[in-house]
Amino acid sequence: MSSRSELQQQQEIIGSLQPAIHSPQNWNYEVAGPLYRAYMHPPHDVGGQYDVPVHYEEKEEEEWELNTYVTCEVLGWKGVWTAEERRRRADNDLGHTLYFGIPYYGRWIWSAAKMLVDKKHISLAELLAKIAEVKSRYETKQITRNPSDGH
């Protein structure tokens, strides 16, 4: 459980995630054509946009990433979603801020969880309770962590 001051700090970070184009008046009555089109543009279609050179890192998948991959593939194999649907959810539905902000497999697992809630396979309340349970179990384990323990 976070303290009040930690929560206030959190609030500042959330506030700083505002879009780069931001006017003090939110939800304007009119959005000019080109800006409207830019807002409607699917976030993942980034080819041809200007950007700065980035550091290329040769990196193996971590355990949570492989687990995420397998989970998503199994959900596909069971017919819960299709590959195209996964792309739509993980590359578009999560929006610009999350698309650019969280890890690649973070987007996969975010969209898998959202899909399971959307399709009523699990309820959000159920999911949140489970996250809280695992989180507290993990935090307890951190203190007496065995290096061979993967979770």
Binding site: M40, P42, D45, R88
Partner: protein, 121 residues
């Protein structure tokens, strides 16, 4: 992966024959986008060549929403890199991407899009 599908017998009926053939000049249409697209911004309005007629499959706009909907012919379209990126330095380099039929229009000459093939839906 997807290319192999053309070798299988599609369980979805092939409802219409391919509108374009290998070698045809096509332009990527600039259709509206909302919620989802597989048609890259950097290819829109650019003229390329049909490199292959691959297979018939669900269109992305419907498969992305788990809809067992319309099936359409897919193509590999080849572009000159110089046509995509004006500042690109090498004349011979090409880029290939895949597109369902609805995103492409035949270019009979360099003057503009062909009109008579429209509205066949």
């Amino acid at each position: 992966m997807k290319q192999n599908k053309s070798l299988e017998t599609p369980q979805m009926a092939i409802d219409k024959s391919a509108r374009f053939k290998v070698g045809d000049r096509v332009r990527v249409k600039d259709m509206p986008y909302l919620f989802y697209t597989r048609s890259q911004m950097y290819t829109r309005g650019v003229v390329g060549t049909i490199a292959a007629c691959t297979y018939q499959d669900l269109i992305p706009e419907e498969e992305a929403f788990n809809l067992d909907g319309q099936v359409e012919q897919y193509y590999i379209v080849r572009f000159r890199q110089k046509d995509l990126w004006p500042e690109y330095p090498f004349d011979n380099d090409t880029l290939q991407t895949e597109s369902p039929e609805r995103w492409l229009e035949l270019v009979s000459d360099e003057s503009g899009p062909e009109q008579e093939r429209k509205g066949s839906e």
